[in-house]
Structure formats: structure tokens, C-alpha cells
Amino acid sequence: MLFVALASHVQAQTPPDLSGVWAPYRAGRGADPKLNPPPPTPIVLKPLYAKPYEARRAAEDEATKRGEPLGTAAVQCVPYGFPRMMAVALYPAEIIQRPAQITIITEAFSEVRRVYMNQPQLPIDDVPPGYYGHSVGTWDGDTLVIDTVGIKESVLGFQNTPHSNQMRITERVRLVTTDMLHDQITVDDPVVLEKPFTYTLAYRRMPNYKMVEFVCENNREYLDEKGAVKMKLRER
């Protein structure tokens, strides 16, 4: 009895190993609906931010219909930053887990996040605004909880939502099965949002996958004077 109690105690204290390469898992053909992440909660922006956001989305939709899509920073080879880097098309992410630090490398643009384990978070005003901010992590049972602050305001969020320098992002990362990972991302921003919103990304393990380098050296896309994406052509 004592042995069983001790064994389960030890098990509870040993966090799962998330190390490996993970590919975004999209619901759809061939997907197991039981493993699909829950749908995102509504994004409710404060009126001051909602108006320009809606206007930009309408302009994007209109331009896309015209065949002159509006570009974003990524067109100019500027990385996505956190949190958008966590879901770029089908590009995989590699997790390297050590007790003191968990490192997440995403393939598109070779972006890197470092999560410092069991350290107190810094005050927001002490973090220089950047693409990845400052992340600290703890284990809540089998779930990795990551707290991130210090994301630059120009780094747009989920569905290109704006944010202030007061944004705080909380992630709950856990293995749903041995080969399926969910990252539940909650964005809180008392300046921009009426209330926090949550969305969940799913990943499938890619055994033996070797991450491919991504240096954005040959960018032929550019933005014209209207902000539309165009392609440079080569002469003979």
C-alpha cells in the first residue's frame, strides 16, 4: 500500500517529456475528431481597438477578392513572433526540454522561444518589448504552464489582433496522447480586450523528423504603393 502511494507520488512529480518535433494538426479529412482542440472563445476588443481592427479586416477581404492581397510583415521576411509563430501553416516545431529551460524552435523563420523554469516572472515594465518576450514555466501536474509578457506592440496576435504592452499570455501545454500535444493559449490584455480569449493549438508528433533550416534569403514578394503583395519576375 505504502509502495503504491510512494510510486504514484514519484510519478506525479515527474513531468512528461515533451521533447521532439511536433507538426500542427489540422482538423479535417483523416483527423480524429476526439483529438481536435476545442474552438476558440470570442475575441472581444474594446471599441477604440475594434473599429480599426474591423476596418483592416474588411480592407483585407476586399483586396483579396480583387486579387491584390494586402501584405503583412511576414511578406517582408520579418518573423511572426509569439504567439503567431506557434501555428504557421504546416511548419513543425521542435521542443527541447531540460529541467531548467524548455526551448521551442519553430521551422518557419527559425524562431526561438526560451521558457525559464521555476523562476518568478519579471514585472512587465522590466522586459524590453520584443518578438518573444520573457517566458517562465512551471509544471501543474502533467501540464506545462507558461507565462509570457513583453511582446512588442507591432507583433500582431492570433488573427492579427492588436495588443498593448500590458498583454499577458498564459499557455497550458499537455500531452493528450503520447503523440498528440495541445497548447491552450489564453491572451489577457486589460487595455485592448474586454475580456481574455482562449484558443487551443494541436500538434502531432513527427518521429525522426529533422528540422529544416529557414533563412529568408530569396524573397521575391514585395508590397506595392497600395500595400498589395506583388511578385518580382526575373528577366532572361
Binding site: V88, P207, F214, N218, E221, A228, M231
Partner: protein, 132 residues
């Protein structure tokens, strides 16, 4: 009515399939409803990010040659669809199917390429949902 619905479903499937290829920009500058097939001589094959490019000289009427720039996915996405960096070389004779630029310029987005050994390669993604 049924036919229209079917076409709609196909179009949606095509959009969903095409989107991941272009991670860093929308593909709306290409006319994905239109397909051009052309054969020519490769003058350049750039295995680079954010995109791979095939430069192609396509012979026309009376010996005139038109040059086309063809955009592919990125090396990562193409490798997952079965491509190798050495599948196309300068001076290869290949044929391509592409979605042309809406602007009418001689550029497009690759749909398929028939490479020198006869294999037909797509533009990724080779993976369907849930399969690495």
C-alpha cells in the same frame, strides 16, 4: 445545382490545400481557377526560402522564347511532398502546370512539375491532416 455545389466543395478543398504552401503571403495574386501548361528549358532552380523558384525558357512561335518565373512552396513543405533539392537542374527539359499571375505577367504558382525522369511532383503539402 448539385454540380455547382460539387465545384464549390472542390474549390474550397483546393484553397485549403494550397494555403499552407504559402506561409508568408496570400496566394490571391495568382489566378487559381486558371491553369497553364508549358514545357521548356530550365535556366535556374533556386532551392531557397521563403520560396523555391524555377526559371523557365519556353519556346513559342517562330523561334521566339518567353521566360517564365514559377513560384513553389518552401524547401520544407516541398520535401514533405517528396521533392529533393536535386530534382531540377539547369538545362533540364521539364513541363509545368501553373496558376498564372492575375496581372498577366509571365509568372505563376506551380501546380505540378514533370521533372527529367518523368516523375510528376506537386507543390505540397504532401501531408493530409493528421498525417506527418
Amino acid at each position: 445545382m448539385k454540380t455547382r455545389l460539387y465545384v464549390g466543395v472542390l474549390l474550397c478543398a483546393a484553397l485549403v490545400a494550397a494555403h499552407p504552401v504559402l506561409a508568408h503571403h496570400s496566394f490571391a495574386m495568382f489566378d487559381t481557377a486558371k491553369r497553364l501548361t508549358m514545357s521548356g528549358t530550365v535556366t535556374g532552380f533556386e532551392w531557397t526560402n521563403p520560396h523555391v523558384y524555377i526559371e523557365l525558357d519556353v519556346p513559342g512561335e517562330k523561334g521566339a522564347v518567353k521566360h517564365w518565373s514559377v513560384e513553389l512552396g518552401s524547401p520544407s513543405i516541398l520535401m514533405q511532398a517528396g521533392w529533393k533539392f536535386s530534382d531540377v537542374k539547369v538545362n533540364d527539359k521539364i513541363s509545368v502546370v501553373l496558376n498564372p499571375l492575375r496581372s498577366g505577367e509571365a509568372g505563376g504558382l506551380l501546380v505540378t512539375a514533370t521533372v527529367r525522369d518523368g516523375r510528376v511532383l506537386g507543390n505540397g503539402p504532401g501531408r493530409v491532416a493528421g498525417q506527418p
